[in-house]
């Protein structure tokens, strides 16, 4: 492998919109660039994704855009996207490959790393130097500082740990890549995406989450009414999702979504280690629980020991 130092960032998008997490990942790339001096290239794999290319071209921190537009990439399945990335990486021009630690990035990046015979550094929260990074382990109960000896560093980035880069003012050129035919290993059948008027969990400024204490999915409208008064997103603990109260995409925690809003309100959530791992970096934490011994109070800035079924309507009213 050559000794190139360019930085390749995988854009996350749905063929029409660049996802916010990519802006945070680009900030990590900017920090790597400050150390290695490599140019930042954004790669967009999809089908008929011109709108995404336009948004990407406006990003002032992006030096160049690579576009792989093909029918086989319409749903960005990892078997096919990995092959595009490998073709790009093989020449040895790159020192770093970055993607967001979303389900998309987590699915794709280890496949690429293994094909390149390099390690992956998952969910970094800090760039120490061009080869050294900090990442949480044991559900965030410890932080590991790891140094890579591979020529190519494959990295996923925890979005909440990096600010978003500016979205306008740039004029990067876009280069179209040759794409190979589909691998034929996998095919897309369909998806069920939750549709909500509320902000997305991972980018919301305020989140209100419900746990087992909500008792049933039928009680979540109490939470939603408060959320709508504050312009908040609605989340849930694993217990609430496992019990079938709400769908999996609302889960906050070690294996669900990692969030760090300005305000996180935990309602009827006891505070298992796995839940705390997903929200303890929030700026202000409020816990509402009738069990005053609940571990959630140990991380809360403001705790209210009370019955949530009385508190939620009152809170909705108080927020006018």
């Amino acid at each position: 492998m050559g000794a190139g130092n360019a930085i390749l960032v995988v854009a996350e998008h749905d063929n029409s919109q660049l996802k916010a997490a990519t802006l945070n990942t680009l900030q990590a790339a900017v920090e790597v660039k400050a150390q290695s001096g490599g140019a930042i290239e954004l790669i967009i794999c999809g089908q008929a994704c011109n709108a995404v290319v336009e948004q990407a071209a406006a990003l002032p921190d992006v030096d160049r855009i690579m576009v792989a537009d093909a029918e086989s990439l319409a749903h960005q399945l990892p078997e096919d996207v990995a092959n595009v990335l490998i073709d790009q990486l093989r020449g040895g021009e790159y020192g770093h490959l970055l993607a967001s630690a979303t389900t998309m990035g987590k699915n794709l990046m280890p496949r690429v790393a293994a094909l390149m015979d390099v390690a992956q550094i998952s969910e970094i929260t800090e760039v120490v130097s061009a080869d050294t990074f900090i990442r949480p382990i044991y559900a965030g109960n410890a932080l590991a500082k790891v140094q890579s000896s591979d020529a190519l560093k494959v990295i996923t980035v925890r979005s909440t740990a990096f600010a978003a880069v500016a979205e306008t003012g740039g004029s990067a050129e876009a280069i179209n890549l040759e794409t190979t035919s589909a691998s034929g290993l996998s095919s897309f059948i369909g998806e069920e995406l939750s549709v909500s008027e509320r902000p997305e969990l991972t980018s919301a400024r305020i989140i209100i989450s419900g746990g087992r204490g909500m008792q049933s999915g039928d009680n979540f409208p109490l939470l939603e009414a408060v959320a709508d008064k504050m312009g908040a997103a609605v989340g849930a603990s694993r217990a609430a999702v496992d019990s079938g109260f709400v769908s999996n995409d609302m889960q906050v925690g070690q294996t669900g979504k990692i969030v760090a809003p300005d305000l996180y309100i935990a309602v009827g959530i006891s505070g298992a280690i796995q839940h705390l791992a997903g929200m303890k970096d929030s700026k202000v934490i409020v816990a509402i629980n009738k069990d005053e011994e609940a571990p959630i109070f140990n991380v809360a800035d403001f705790g209210l020991v009370a019955d949530l079924f009385e508190v939620l309507p009152e809170l909705e009213k108080a927020l006018g």
């Binding site: 280890p110 050294t132 932080l143 939750s194 694993r238 496992d242 705790g303």
Partner: protein
């Protein structure tokens, strides 16, 4: 079809770990260990495939020192047919684990490999995807439902926006998410029976795999502590504090 399940011995999910005083690692001495929760789900899924007649044999493999035989015996008690320990001094990195598992896949030719999506110690979430890459198999990660349809596997995946359904050509790699199934407990008679089931040991040298690490852990530290908060007495007090003291409303 033979199903291969890879499992890892990790700190029990209910233990709150501590960082060693010399910041070299997390303290693991005298701590309760268990099968990684996602790996338990992988074992359960393989056993259910066998019970439904899709799988003819369930082979469980773990990589580590002899202590991981305890977890392999548990898997045998749960219903796996035979076990393989790949003996190493420490826990290798995900890339090395994937290479070792690839060597096992080459030997055993399974129709499906099921792994947990991540282990709750390293939280890497890499091994299944890496194994799929090295074996040239498709990958159904973060699975909440799997169904065999002829020579293809339909996998429902938990993704950030909801659920995605894909069809994979077999053989394939599946990694489990929390809601794939609810693992059973081992019964006492099955625990006794498991002691007589075959457990073989191999080494990375036997398999011809280099497991030298690519990453160096320079330091392990405690995350910043949150300052202790206060209890408020009422909703109005809470709203007042959030507006005026914290300035977040």
């Amino acid at each position: 079809m033979k199903v291969l399940v890879a499992i890892k011995r990790v700190v029990d999910a209910n233990v709150k770990v501590r960082v060693k005083a010399d910041n070299s690692a997390v303290e693991l001495a005298n701590i309760k260990m268990a099968i990684n929760p996602f790996c338990e789900i992988a074992i359960e899924e393989a056993i259910r495939l066998k019970e439904k007649g899709h799988a003819s044999e369930v082979l469980v493999v773990s990589i580590g020192p002899d202590t991981c035989q305890e977890q392999l015996r548990t898997a045998l008690a749960l219903g796996a047919d035979r076990a393989l320990q790949i003996k190493t001094d420490e826990s290798p990195e995900p890339l090395a684990v994937a290479k070792l598992l690839k060597a096992v896949v080459d030997q055993e030719q399974p129709g499906m490999v099921i792994l947990g999506k991540q282990s709750i110690d390293g939280d890497n979430n890499q091994t299944g995807q890496m194994l799929a890459a090295l074996t040239g198999m498709p990958q159904g990660t973060f699975a909440s439902e799997v169904a065999i349809e002829g020579d293809a596997l339909q996998v429902t995946r938990e993704i950030d926006g909801g659920l995605q359904k894909v069809s994979l050509k077999l053989p394939a790699v599946v990694t489990t998410d929390l809601r794939l199934n609810e693992p059973r407990y081992a019964s006492l008679p099955n625990i006794m029976k498991a002691k007589r089931k075959p457990l073989e040991t191999q080494t990375p040298e036997d398999l011809g795999i280099d497991i030298s690490p690519r990453l160096t852990v320079l330091e392990v530290t405690n995350p910043p502590e949150r300052a202790a908060g206060i209890k408020v007495g009422s909703v109005s007090e809470l709203v007042e504090k959030l507006k005026n003291d914290a300035g977040v409303l």
